[in-house]
Amino acid sequence: MARKILLNYSAERVQEPILATVIKETGLTFNILYAEFTGRGGEILLSIEAPDQEVDKAIELFRKKGVEVREIKRAIHLDRELCIDCGACLSLCPSGALFQDKDNTVMLDEDKCVYCELCVPSCPVKALELSRF
């Protein structure tokens, strides 16, 4: 499964091409799940699909460049046994992690999840569960 890391930039760092440099130096592909910049700095949530050591290396690099890095250790689970495919969760999911396939089966692509947790309480049969570890 892809690992997710949250980058926190200070205002001074926002201008620097840090992300591009790390991509170049590690040769990894990052999936940007969301990014937000304000006057006070910025936040980027990345999803990285790569062997653990390489992800660790990327984290090191970000830290060296003055970016605060936090790994998001959460997991979301859709229990297909309980799910009734009602779709109540679909329009609440901002990331497209919850989607419907051709025959209207509701599915979860955890790699896209940003752990907003909007879907969990909306499920009428408690088929969605979020765990932290």
Partner: protein
């Protein structure tokens, strides 16, 4: 059956049943029928197809079950009864009770309710029954506690006063806050749309003239065979909002098609699986049974306006709703179905299988359902007043750049607690309370914008006051500024205004 005019193709239900018996009946699902009618036209389809099966699987709050517990020794005339801490209605004979889907557990609240009790019974789980009574000469016992499964009950009958809405309106929310409704969680500023009903699979949509569906019609109910025994409550066929009352043996049902549910911050309900076979007796029925999602329309209503007649945002087809995105203004808004299309389709297929296996035969209605009924609103003795009627219109306001000291003076002189802060255009940008001022005096802050609350909870002029009372209570505050459509300040409503109303 009914005389709605001459038709070219004419088949009776008996003839169709005979074909089923001989294994010659052509049975298709409603989705397949849409294609067939499109290809062959209603007459061609009516000649070819004998039965169209439909299905829906959605939360149907107006559902419940009659249970009979048998007599204890010494006997008890149950006056109040709880099943797994969910109260059931027992204002009937000694040991009969009705467990309703939306009744909440007295210990678990919205986590568990009547719908869950029904699911647990269907699953064969043991439930705890607790009853109290006043005791009579013939029923001396005043208390009892037993554990039973459905097998211990004499009868367990699913009996739903209103099921299978022909179609239903879709919902969205114009307000600036998330709201929790029976139409699910509605995100702020038209953030999503929810809808219910299976569109072209939905049973009553397929025979909107009630030519073949009526009292006595045998149906798929909760995984077993059940019946329609009356029109549903609020049956409103003239507006294409017909409903049915249904009944069936709970003991034979399957939890796959009967699931307890919790609608967030709204309450509990029961997902009911229901399917009706439509005998294709003529081309008129073939045509309605073949209506596609692109022909079935409903309105998207603004649930942000808490009134009985909610404003229509726009009309929409089920085809657009099922696409997962609906256009509102210049945006594509994500859509959630609240009933399961997948399981609706599964029900239509199961029903087809039963018919092909000759374990399910069609029925001719004993009596027709009314087609001219209208749904009356509640007769209310006193109309609920609106914010407009009781709000204070002359409001003292301040600007964000005004000093805290000047505001303190206003509070002291006028003796009120809320000071709305407006910008040059008269739009509300914040609020300051006397409490904020009291706290600010101890700090170095000087201007109102430093201490004002800018995420203000507001009311609208056409909101009923009881809703305002709920907002005040929920947020633990004592007043709400009233704003117009573009945020301009119109007045203020406080707990004081509300209590004046009570004294009136």
């Amino acid at each position: 059956m009914v005389n709605l005019g001459k038709t070219v193709v004419n088949k009776s239900v008996d003839e169709i049943n005979e074909k089923i018996r001989r294994g010659e009946a052509v049975v298709v699902t409603a989705e397949e029928m849409v294609e067939i009618v499109r290809e062959k036209g209603p007459i061609g389809a009516a000649k070819e197809v004998d039965v169209v099966t439909t299905g829906t699987f959605g939360a149907m709050c107006s559902s419940g079950a009659w249970l009979n517990f048998g007599h204890s020794d010494p006997p008890i005339k149950m006056q109040r009864v709880w099943i797994n801490d969910v109260e059931a209605y027992t204002g009937v004979a000694a040991v009969d009770a009705y467990i309703g889907a939306t009744q909440l557990s007295e210990t678990k609240g919205m986590e568990y309710g009547g719908g869950h009790v029904i699911e647990d019974l269907v699953r064969g789980k043991e439930v705890e029954v607790r009853a109290t009574a006043y005791g009579t000469d013939c029923y001396p016992r005043t208390e009892i506690e037993i554990r039973v499964t459905k097998d211990d009950l004499n009868q367990a009958v699913l009996c739903n006063p209103r099921n299978a809405y022909q179609k239903y309106t879709a919902a969205t929310n114009s307000r600036s806050e998330t709201i929790y409704t029976y139409m699910g969680t509605l995100l702020p500023r038209f953030g999503n749309v929810t809808y219910s009903g299976a569109g072209e699979l939905s049973p009553l949509n397929k025979d909107p003239n009630y030519e073949t569906i009526g009292i006595g019609t045998r149906i798929f109910l909760g995984g077993a065979q059940g019946y329609i025994f009356w029109e549903g409550t609020q049956h409103n066929p003239t507006k294409a909002l017909g409903t049915i009352m249904t009944v069936g043996n709970l003991k034979k049902m399957d939890a796959r098609y009967l699931r307890g549910a919790t609608i967030p911050k709204y309450g509990t309900s029961l997902f009911v699986g229901l399917g009706i076979p439509i005998p294709i007796i003529n081309e008129r029925v073939a045509k309605t049974a073949g209506a596609g999602d692109d022909e079935i329309r409903t309105n998207i209503l603004d649930y942000g306006v808490p009134r009985r007649d909610r404003p229509v945002i726009r009309e929409v087809t089920y085809a657009e709703l099922k696409s997962g995105k609906v256009r509102i203004g210049d945006r594509d808004v994500p859509v959630s179905p609240l009933s399961s299309l997948k399981r609706a389709r599964e029900i239509a297929n199961v029903l087809r299988k039963w018919i092909l296996e000759k374990s399910f035969f069609l029925t001719e209605p004993v009596e027709r359902l009314p087609t001219d009924e209208v749904f009356k609103p509640m007769k209310q003795a006193v109309a609920v007043p609106f914010v407009r009627d009781i709000m204070t219109k002359e409001v003292v306001t301040a600007r964000p750049g005004d000093s805290i000291a000047s505001a303190a003076k206003i509070f002291a002189e006028k003796g009120f607690d809320h000071l709305p802060i407006v910008n040059d255009e008269g739009k509300l940008v914040g609020i300051v309370t006397s409490w904020d001022i009291a706290v600010a005096v101890a700090t170095k802050k000087k201007k109102l914008f430093e201490i004002m609350t800018s995420r203000v909870i507001t009311a609208k002029e056409d909101e009923p006051v009881d809703l305002v009372a709920r907002k005040l209570e929920r947020h633990g505050i004592s007043g709400l500024p009233v704003v117009g459509p573009s945020g301009e300040l119109k007045g203020i409503i406080t707990t004081g205004d509300l209590s004046k109303l009570l004294r009136r």
